[in-house]
Symmetry: C2
Subunit: 147 residues, 2 copies
């Protein structure tokens, strides 16, 4: 079941299938609601205590899972027409809190690495296109990253 947190963002519990030789971690199936089409799959590493962001995709839906380490994601909604206008959403993902974070276009996203080695997988519905993403400096949206 998807749980909606801010409008057009969802967190979905994912299965971990235990196996004595090494576990299987689900990420995304075509039949799930979070699947919006296939464009590109890539990993992003985020070093300990580093923050990447803020970035807004204007067309791409992100489907993010964290198979290694622990990453804090913060989403900020500045869509004037949104029910959750001006709100932040925070979640920490890891294999201990193994969920998929689905983020629709037009939301600001930033994330921080909380362990030594942190990896996210993004299953995006579009291929990378530099004109589709907007980057601003971290201090342009005020958020207390030390919490």
């Amino acid at each position: 079941m998807d749980k909606t947190i801010i409008d057009n963002v969802s967190l979905t519990d994912l299965k971990i299938i235990e196996h004595p030789k090494g576990d299987i971690f689900h990420a995304l199936k075509k039949s799930e609601d979070s699947y919006k089409g296939f464009g590109e799959v890539y990993f992003s590493n985020i070093n300990h205590n580093e923050i990447k962001g803020w970035k807004k995709h204007t067309k791409m839906t992100l489907n993010i899972v964290v198979p290694v380490g622990k990453i804090k994601f913060v989403i900020f909604d500045d869509r004037k027409e949104s029910k959750t206008y001006n709100q932040f959403f925070e979640v920490i993902l890891s294999t201990k809190n193994y969920k998929r974070l689905t983020i629709a276009p037009n939301l600001w996203v930033a994330f921080k690495g909380l362990e030594e080695n942190n990896f996210l997988l993004n299953i995006a519905d579009l291929e990378h296109n530099p004109t589709e993403g907007v980057n601003i400096n971290l201090n342009e949206i005020t958020y207390n990253w030390n919490n």
Copy 2:
């Protein structure tokens, strides 16, 4: 450029984009030849010195990358009509040898974890379906795993 090793298997160099806060690792884009459709994405962990296999998918094409650790893959071709009938193919994947391994259906695959923590990502063109995969014991195809 894809390099074909045994018939219907390919290895493709992937880009790692260096970044001071954490690198980006490409996996698969829709526009690449290896892309055969989207069914499911999952991770498989393989513990140190453990071997999973042999498994043959009768319909699924696998697109495998190894973002964490080091995994040895062995592919065995028992397709009588194949140019590479009765041949083995071996490759060790890691972030030091960062390539995508694309495996067409009807080939036997097994893999061994070479470090403490080893993860593969599989981008499959079909959702998991237990009737589509065939499992046999490791000793049913003779291969010297200690090499």
